[in-house]
Amino acid sequence: MSNIAGKAYAMNVITPIRWTTAWLNKLIFWIALKRPSTLRGLITLSLIHYARWVIIGKNQFPHLDSSQPKEKLHYSYMLFFSNFNGSWDQYVDSFTFAIPGGLDLFWKWNIRYPKSVALTPFHHYIRYNQIETIHYYNAYPLATSNDVKSAKAVKDALIQFQCQSADDESDDNFLQRYNALLRGLQHDLGAMHPTPIVSMSAYQVERRKRWHDGSLQKEIAAQQAAQGGQNHDR
């Protein structure tokens, strides 16, 4: 199990919603899609890579084969998937503090939704309905969502800087442009490093480190030699 891949956390939440009100939720999402200004609050939460809501009608679970039993559900279900940076508490709390109204709007029609304020019942609700990820892959585990966005600014600025270079430029002029480049990028620069490991896959990360420095291969060889020796003794 691993909800964490580098600096990203994978959250999965499934909550029931009456089929009679599921369409209302869909309508709210549709309006949010048509009027991007409704998502302004989410944009301020720059720790999010991507998030999505999926509503599965009570008769819409995929049915692939006649031998597969059909679902007999009372409710429709809303799935929420998010990829964000930081800890579970930081994320859930920042939602509550930044966009409590938006949060309530999106979950309003879900069964027994306790509202985003007060915090403790909301924490219980999310934790109760959360499903653990087994395998989580991140193409850039060293980077946060803000790193990915700021890296684009760095790349664009460097390419532009290169385009503006001229062979007959004086050194002083170059220095001026270089300083301006760094000044312009001061919010986007910053070295990335691996995070301290706080996931259940910590063991594997440690193991990978030992693999990179060559000690794991030696350990495995020693283990195999020891096992071989034991078998031989038998």
Partner: protein, 233 residues
């Protein structure tokens, strides 16, 4: 399925029903899938690192849905919880019902660069081409997967398992993955360069910077760059 597309990013949601069966060792197919996915955590990098344009993705097994037994904040919930004068039968009827799934589902949720048109077929074709064997290893115990023999049948199968997103929020930049990885490489290298070259005279700095630009080649996406899934500096 326009709800799946935001900018150039695509949100793919797959629920594949898992066969209700056991291996000769009496391990449920759903648990076998779980074990195999757990095994992916033990590899040096995820097999998904080989699938072109994958930003982030996850796998889990949905065993069942939850019955809401915690107090809520809805009007009827509060009324039925707080008023002892409400007849017990009425109160019980207001409680959430208990649901159970008939099948377990393998859930695959993925964000990838699909371009403005959301090229799902291209992505799935790339996925099959890159890790077809590993896909069989995970999906092999799902209903309907026995009909998958090549990229085309895989695309057909995945589309049958796909659910549309009601709302997809894209909070990142959605450039092609190789552009993003090159940009991260440049960000890391420029930060290092700036720190190491502080206070130099203009001529030396210029010389060093020219060498730096030649080394990092900002417009060359192929190299030098970060590989997908790079987890150490």
């Amino acid at each position: 399925m326009t709800g799946n597309i935001s900018g150039n990013a695509y949100a793919l949601t797959i629920l594949s029903p898992i066969k209700d069966g056991y291996t000769p060792d009496e391990i449920a197919y759903a648990d076998l899938i779980r074990d195999r996915l757990q095994g992916w955590n033990m590899e040096h990098n995820s097999p998904m690192a080989k699938v072109p344009q994958t930003y982030l993705c996850r796998f889990f097994v949905l065993d069942d849905v939850y019955t809401e037994s915690l107090p809520g904040a809805g009007f009827l919930d509060t009324l039925s919880d707080l008023l002892p004068v409400v007849p017990d039968r009425t109160r019980r009827n207001a409680l959430p019902k208990e649901d159970h799934l008939q099948s377990r589902y393998l859930v695959f949720s993925c964000n990838f660069h699909g371009g403005a048109g959301g090229d799902l077929e291209g992505y799935l074709r790339g996925m099959w081409g890159a890790i077809g064997d590993r896909i069989r290893e995970i999906w092999g115990y799902c209903y309907g997967f026995e009909q998958v023999t090549d990229a085309d049948t895989f695309i057909t199968y995945m589309k049958k398992c796909q659910l549309p997103a009601a709302l997809f929020f894209n909070g990142s930049n959605d450039e092609p993955l190789e552009e993003q990885l090159k940009a991260l490489y440049l960000k890391q290298e420029l930060a290092k360069f700036a720190a190491e070259n502080q206070g130099l005279d203009a001529a030396t700095l210029r010389r060093n910077f020219q060498a730096f630009m030649q080394r990092v080649a900002p417009t060359n996406l192929a190299e030098p760059t970060w590989p997908a899934g790079k987890y150490r500096i």
